[in-house]
C-alpha cells in the first residue's frame, strides 16, 4: 500500500507504507467494511498482536475472546485505569492513585473511587473479565466523547478524564413508595484530548458497532447498549407502550424504556448489554422524555 491511508474506524491518516492494521487504533486495513443496510459499521476484529502507537510507547493487542492490552511504556508516557483491570506488570512499573473530584458522589453512584496510574519503563497489561472486544478510540486534539459507566478500560496520560450527571432518570410510585431509576446509570465518563492526541481503550461486551448521526437525526437505543457517543449527541428518554396491553391506575402495563439519541455525532453500541429492570409501576416523574402509545 502506498500514499496516505485514512482509517475508516478512527479516521486518523497515516503515510506509513505496507500497513496491515491502523497504527493508531489497530483496525485491519485489508478487509472490506462490514456495514449493515441500516448504516451500522461493525468494529473490525483487531488482528492478534497488532500494535497501536502513542507518543514514544505502544500497546499490543493479544488474544481474541478476551483480548489483553499490553502496554510497552517508554518512560515518558503513562496510562491510567480502574485498578481491578490490571492483569500483570513488570516490577519496574510503578502504580499510584490518581485523585478524583466528587468522591462522595462517586461512592454513592457505585463508580470507582479512584483511578490508578501506571508509569515507568516496561510492560503493563490489562483485560476485563468478560468476553468481548477491545475498542480503541484515538482522540484527536479537541475531541471529546462520553462513555457509559464501567466501560472504560485504560487511557493514555494525554487524555483528560471527567464525569457528569447523565440527567436521564424516571420515578415510579408503588403505594407510598417512590423509586428513582437511572437506565443509563447516574453518571457518565467524559474523555477529552485538550492539547495533544491520546488513546482511549474501552471494552465492549459482545460486538461493537458505530454509526454517524446527521444533525437532527434521531435513533432509539436500549440505554444499557450504549457504549459511547460524541459529546455533541443529545440524549433523553422515550417511553413506548405497545397496543393491546392491560393498564390500570397503578400500572402502565407493558412499557419499553428507550434512550433517544439526537445528532450530530457518532454513537456506538455493543451487542451484549445488561438487562434493565423496569418495575412497570406508574410513572410519577422523569427527566425530559417523550411517550408514545400504540393503538390496536
Amino acid at each position: 500500500m502506498s500514499g496516505t491511508y485514512t482509517c475508516r474506524w478512527c479516521r486518523m491518516s497515516t503515510d506509513a507504507p505496507n500497513l496491515i492494521s491502523c497504527p493508531t487504533c489497530g483496525a485491519p486495513v485489508d478487509v472490506r467494511d462490514r456495514v449493515s443496510e441500516s448504516g451500522w459499521y461493525e468494529l473490525p476484529a483487531i488482528p492478534d498482536m497488532a500494535r497501536l502507537q502513542f507518543g514514544r510507547s505502544y500497546c499490543q493487542i493479544e488474544g481474541t475472546y478476551v483480548p489483553v492490552a499490553d502496554f510497552n511504556l517508554s518512560g515518558e508516557d503513562g496510562v491510567y485505569f480502574t485498578h481491578h483491570l490490571l492483569l500483570w506488570k513488570d516490577p519496574a512499573i510503578a502504580i499510584a492513585p490518581m485523585a478524583l473530584r466528587g468522591g462522595w458522589s462517586r461512592l454513592f453512584a457505585g463508580l470507582p473511587l479512584l483511578m490508578t496510574q501506571a508509569y515507568g519503563q516496561g510492560h503493563v497489561a490489562f483485560s476485563r473479565d468478560a468476553p468481548g472486544e477491545l475498542v480503541p478510540v484515538p482522540l484527536q486534539a479537541g475531541m471529546s466523547i462520553d462513555v457509559r459507566e464501567h466501560i472504560f478500560m485504560v487511557a493514555t496520560n494525554q487524555v483528560r478524564y471527567d464525569w457528569f450527571n447523565t440527567g436521564v432518570w424516571f420515578q415510579t410510585r408503588d403505594g407510598d413508595e417512590t423509586e428513582t431509576h437511572y437506565p443509563l446509570g447516574m453518571y457518565m465518563d467524559r474523555f477529552s484530548a485538550p492539547g495533544a492526541p491520546g488513546l482511549l481503550l474501552l471494552h465492549a461486551h459482545g460486538n461493537a458497532f458505530i454509526r454517524q448521526l446527521a444533525p437532527g437525526e434521531t435513533l432509539l437505543v436500549k440505554p444499557t447498549a450504549l457504549l459511547f457517543k460524541d459529546s455533541t449527541v443529545q440524549m433523553h428518554l422515550h417511553f413506548e407502550h405497545p397496543a393491546g396491553t392491560w393498564r390500570s391506575w397503578r400500572s402502565w402495563g407493558e412499557r419499553f424504556v428507550w434512550l433517544r439519541l439526537t445528532g450530530p455525532g457518532r454513537v456506538s453500541v455493543h451487542s451484549a448489554y445488561d438487562k434493565f429492570e423496569d418495575p412497570g409501576n406508574t410513572l410519577s416523574g422523569s427527566s425530559p422524555a417523550t411517550r408514545w402509545q400504540w393503538r390496536g
Binding site: 488474544g63 475472546y65 489483553v68 492483569l87 500483570w88 506488570k89 513488570d90 485523585a99 468522591g103
Partner: protein
Amino acid sequence: MDTGTRVECQWCRSQNSPDARSCYTCGAPLDVRNLVSDSGWREAPRLRDMTEIHFGGSTCQVEGEIVPVAEIALGAGDWVYFEHHVMLWKDESAAMSVMPLGGGIKRAFAGMPFIITVAQGPGRIAFSRDATGELVVLPLHPGVELDVREHAFLLASHSIGYSYVRIKGLKNILFGGQGMFMDRFVAGNEQGLLVLHGYGNVFERMLQPGESILLEPGAFLYKDATVTMQVETQRLSSGLFGGTGMNLAKMTGPGRIGIQSMYVHHHTDD
C-alpha cells in the same frame, strides 16, 4: 522415518511427521506461526476444530471453538480422571469409578473437589466447562511437575500422578486467589496428557532464574513447580476515603507460567 525430516512442535516439543498439519501429541497447528507478544507471552495454540490428539491407545478430539469440547475415545485399559461436573456426555460402555484421595476433610474445607472421578475404556466420554475459553493441552514429559489453579483442570490421563500442594503463608492463602491448595500433576516414567480450561485467552511465558513478574492473582492458571509465588500488597490511598489495597502475585522463575485473560477478580480490602 529419518528424524532429520521430522517437525518439532513449538508448543510441546514433540516430533511429528513432515506432512502433519497438527501436532500428534498436543494438537497445536504446525503450519501456523507462533503468536508471541513483544513482552514475551506466547498465546496458547488455537486448536483447529475437530483436531485429534493421541495418548496411549486413546484419542482426544477437540470440538468447537468458543466453549470447546474434549471428546475422548478411550482405548481398552486406558483411563482418564476429572472433576465430575465437567462431564458433558458419555457412552454407556465407559466404566466409572472414583479415585481414592488422601486428606478428604482438608480438601472439603478448602473448597476443592472431594472426589475425583475416573472413566475407563473402552468407550467415549466428553468434557467441557461452562465458560468461554480455550483448552490448554499440556503433554507432560517424564519427570515434569506442574501446579494448576484449583478447578482449572479438565482431565488428565492415567499415567499422570495427581496430588495437591498446600499454599504456604497466610497472606498467600487469603489474597493469593488460589485458596489453600493447588493441584499438582506429576508425570512419572511415561508421558501423559493434561488438559486444562482457561477462561478467555491463555498465554504462557518462560521465566529465567530470578526473573519476576507481578500478576493479578485471579489470572494465574498454571506454573512449573519450580516457580515460586508470593503475594505483594500495594496500598492505593485516596485520602479522605482511605483508599484500597491491590494484591498482586509475584511469580519468580525459573520455569513457565500460564495465565488466563478472563480472570477471577478477587476483591481487596476496600
